[in-house]
């Protein structure tokens, strides 16, 4: 059994501890009745109760989820169409150019994107609020969906499309009966990615949100500035668990499409 503790294993363990310790620290104190981030007093659900009693906060949670679902759904549609378009481009130069333009959007700093959207929205006179946040979220999610869907299209053998044509399929059939079913796992992956990006986006939202509209990440930030309340911890804990659930969900979906579907053991946590 000693062989388990090779230096590489220890290194890995340390890395994970460093990455996860703060999160668990935060989660731990969300149950502290002492109301402080030190000196654990007694176990309590108090902060969670406070959280759920706060209707303003609940509306913000709802906003966040609506924004996330809507922006993920819309960007999945746009991104999938975009990926198919990029895939259809035959010229390699053009294809690489399009891909690079797409990737630049993914890696460029959120601050730049947020600021540029702020300028754009004020320029065209769009009132900052739900719509502006939604549009911004769609915009930064589309490139992510493209990058998730494109590999699926590229691994698809071109003879599949030739075969469909040969069997009498028109372009609509080819799209709906061959291409879309084939890339479905990629589309799901793109959707989940867009969902998580939207859920935890702070910088872009911070720029483009206006009076009276807020998402969780922005709200937590402003709560944290006002002073320490353990409701933040409670909220963060719930958010974290929700993310974990998403990851698990994604894992099962990708597994189901890879091998023959076996779906069990999902809601075991929580």
């Amino acid at each position: 059994m000693k062989r388990k503790f090779k230096p590489s294993t220890i290194y890995l363990a340390i890395v994970f501890v460093i990455l996860y310790a703060p999160i668990f620290y935060l989660m731990y104190y969300s149950f502290n009745s002492g109301g402080k981030m030190y000196a654990f007093d007694r176990f309590t659900w108090e902060w969670y109760g406070e959280l759920f009693a706060d209707t303003r906060l609940l509306i913000i949670v709802l906003n966040t989820i609506i924004i996330a679902l809507l922006s993920a759904a819309i960007s999945t549609i746009i991104g999938t169409i975009g990926a198919i378009a990029v895939w259809y481009v035959k010229q390699n130069k053009m294809k690489n150019l399009l891909l690079s333009l797409n990737n630049i959007l993914i890696v460029s700093p959120d601050v730049v994107i947020g600021a540029s959207f702020l300028i754009l929205f004020t320029f065209i006179g769009l009132q900052l609020g739900f719509t502006s946040v939604l549009l911004a979220h769609i915009a930064f999610s589309v490139p992510i969906v493209v990058i998730m869907v494109l590999p699926k299209l590229q691994e698809m053998s071109p003879s599949l499309i030739a075969a469909a044509k040969d069997l009498g399929a028109n372009n609509y059939h080819i799209l709906t009966k061959v291409i879309l079913p084939y890339i479905t796992p990629g589309i799901f992956a793109g959707f989940f990615m867009a969902l998580t990006y939207s859920l935890d986006d702070f910088a872009v939202t911070f720029f483009v949100t206006g009076n009276g509209f807020s998402t969780l990440s922005v709200e937590i930030y402003s709560m944290a500035r006002q002073g320490v309340s353990l409701t933040i911890n409670a909220l963060s804990t719930i958010l974290f668990l929700f993310t974990v659930l998403l990851v698990i969900g994604y894992y099962f979906i990708s597994k189901r499409t890879n091998a023959n579907g076996r779906m069990f053991g999902l809601g075991a946590r929580k």
């Binding site: 053998s157 003879s159 030739a162 075969a163 469909a164 044509k165 040969d166 069997l167 009966k177 084939y182």
Partner: protein, 369 residues
Amino acid sequence: MTKNQPIIRFENVTKQYDDDKPILNNVSFEMEKGKFYTLLGPSGCGKTTILRLISGLIEATSGKIYINDKLVNDTPANKRQVNTVFQDYALFPHLNVFDNVAFGLRVKKLPNDVIEKKVKEALRFVNLQGYENREITGMSGGQRQRVAIARAIVNEPEVLLLDEPLSALDLKLRTEMQYELRELQQRLGITFVFVTHDQEEALAMSDEIFVINEGKIEQRGTPRDIYDEPINRFVADFIGESNIITGKMIQDFLVEFAGKQYDCVDQGFKPNETVEIVIRPEDLEITSVERGKFTVKVDSILFRGVHYEIIGYDEIGNEWMIHSTKTATIGDKIGLYFEPEDIHVMRLGETEEEFDARLESYTAQGAEK
């Protein structure tokens, strides 16, 4: 065989991408109904291009393509009464066997009960009854092959195109499938156009073979014609093993090569014309030095299973390959015997039409071919 009406006709068809060398260069041919055709040639010769032109997956740069006497140059692939079995089978991985086979019928919006009946029948045709609900990923290469065939024939095409469908199978399965394909073609009675680079496959299955090289049809004919009477070095070399030696046609029925004159059955050449002669390795019979028509010194021997492959050199250094069930000793001199009809004489640079014309001219004279 009676002359049927052609089902496929190519008239001066050329296919060219941009300014590259044409893949297919001014090709004309006809294919009859209900026959098994093989397009045979090395990779990149244009055989798959012909197939894709028939199926409509690519368009001809120039020339006319007819299916059933109807010009189809502007008919898209999904409107042509031909179906293809692809090299990688191209089965839809997200559909099971039944749905794969039903694909073409569903696209045509046939009623469900008809689809079910036809799919079952097609699966029975390829010996896959009971496999309807199997996933493609769980099937072997040979089974996938059959699904691909079923998916094509369920649409009742007039022409079935097969693009090197056996190349991914192992040797034993490949031989089995050769028999099955041939039998399937005869049962269905439709035209098969089979593409391969494997000359054994071509010889075993076809009614007619088109030997293709560099975008041109070098020779077309029955397997026997092509094997026994190749018109040039390329065909002789590509179909089977050959000894090809430069010689001189002294006069009709007399050819000189390797320093000696031999009787042969070819004629219609100019006196003393330089020619190439072909003798198949299996036509050379090992005998004693005295009784042989010429002698070679054995250089190497390879055991090939059904026969030995013996390489020898004659006095002037020509290399000879002999296929024999008898073996020899390396370094020994052996005599080689052959019949006059084993010699096949080829005129340099002769085209298929010229060859046919020459053959015609002397068979018309009443001479035995």
